[in-house]
Symmetry: C2
Subunit: 243 residues, 2 copies
Amino acid sequence: MTQQIAAERRARLNRARVLRAAVALADEVGIGPLSMRRLAQELDVVPMALYKHVANKEELLDGMVDVVIGEIDPPVAGADWKSMVRLRVLSARRVLQRHQWARRVLETRTNPTPAVLGYMDSFIGMFFAGGFSVDLTHHVMHAIGSRMWGFTQELFDSTAISEGDTPAAVAPEVQAAMFQEMSASYPNVIQVATSASHDDGSVVGSGCDDQFEFEFALDLLLDGIERLHQRDYSPTAARLERG
Amino acid sequence: MTQQIAAERRARLNRARVLRAAVALADEVGIGPLSMRRLAQELDVVPMALYKHVANKEELLDGMVDVVIGEIDPPVAGADWKSMVRLRVLSARRVLQRHQWARRVLETRTNPTPAVLGYMDSFIGMFFAGGFSVDLTHHVMHAIGSRMWGFTQELFDSTAISEGDTPAAVAPEVQAAMFQEMSASYPNVIQVATSASHDDGSVVGSGCDDQFEFEFALDLLLDGIERLHQRDYSPTAARLERG
DNA sequence: CAGGCAGGTGTACGCCGTACACCTCATGGA
DNA sequence: TCCATGAGGTGTACGGCGTACACCTGCCTG
């Protein structure tokens, strides 16, 4: 009975609801405009109410990351290490792509939450299961770095602009002039940027297939790692004898 | 004469001086505490005075990045592409290590400044000079990503904590308990983290040699790239026949 | 000597995170 | 049945942020 009444009123807040609302809000408006005040408003509550459920904004962000990580598929069983890793990374990538903000937030965490550690632990476990030494695994984890989460540090990718303001359309003749100028100053950049995007003449190579680029780089890395593993390479030994 | 008087008074502000002061301040206190107000104070000037020299804080940060990029060595002439790239990256790394904050700032730039484009252009030029096709260069640049700037996205590295607050020493017995707990929950992480740091028992593997890890990963990448180049591999062709 | 303009100032606004004291109301023991 | 308790929501306030806008000042040029 009292439950019913409570349900008719505003549902009671709890940590999970706060985090879910935060994730949803960030998905919608981006991480920049996500403030405690804005989130509170979304939950129809006064800002300070949130602090009964999260210690502060940092902890809120930690919690949001945990929610996101929870969406990554568990490792598929019974495959070789390489495909396990590959699939897991690509799963993480899909998740992080649903929550664009998560990349930046992940990067700014100062200490890992249990969920993060759990993911890393199971990630490392895939290499162990594949017969990697602790030592090689260590170096390999460094080499993979943030690619483990399914993203690369794409400096200045075109999608980064889409936070908030629209890029303010410019007249075609101005575009052309800019292109000319760029071609003169940065001929190599222009060549590379336009190589994969013959269809549209956009200056930043927005025509290029991010997913392909990601997999290309990932496979380059995995192939290199496989080669090391096959020849029982020990990075630490190599370093010692190099001196 | 008037010059002398001016020199006796506070030197006049200009964009370069603002940027240099900003870089110095960020070097000293970190990027977090760097506010327009704080910077103005450092320059013994009212906050709004800065806006006569930079449009807003974003532009200030852009300018700071440019200053940093200016410190990267130019490419060494007359070497093969691989060592040119390698040396350039390691030079960038040294610079970015002098300005720890620059990594984060670089990551948050939304559009590249001329200095950034210039660096990328000359970077791309090294591959062209090495006989790489435009196409392969494009993919290779993606694969290198932020490693071009001499950093990897080290999530949760121990250095990240050092912004501002000291980590508040904990009693050894508490440390031991934490270690026990971690070992139970994240056995793989613990193994890997402690593999390269037998000397000190710190939980986060702070004993590991970042520079070695970086070069290890860089070389893994460069070797992979070299292999592709030698066999005249065309990623785009590979993709077309696959797709 | 006059005028203009580059550059430094003062004030004020709206945002942010959050400390702290307070209120309210469901709940469980007497 | 009642009342103490404590979890959870509220209101107010503070200090910090970026920066808009009007203003002042003093050097440089004509």
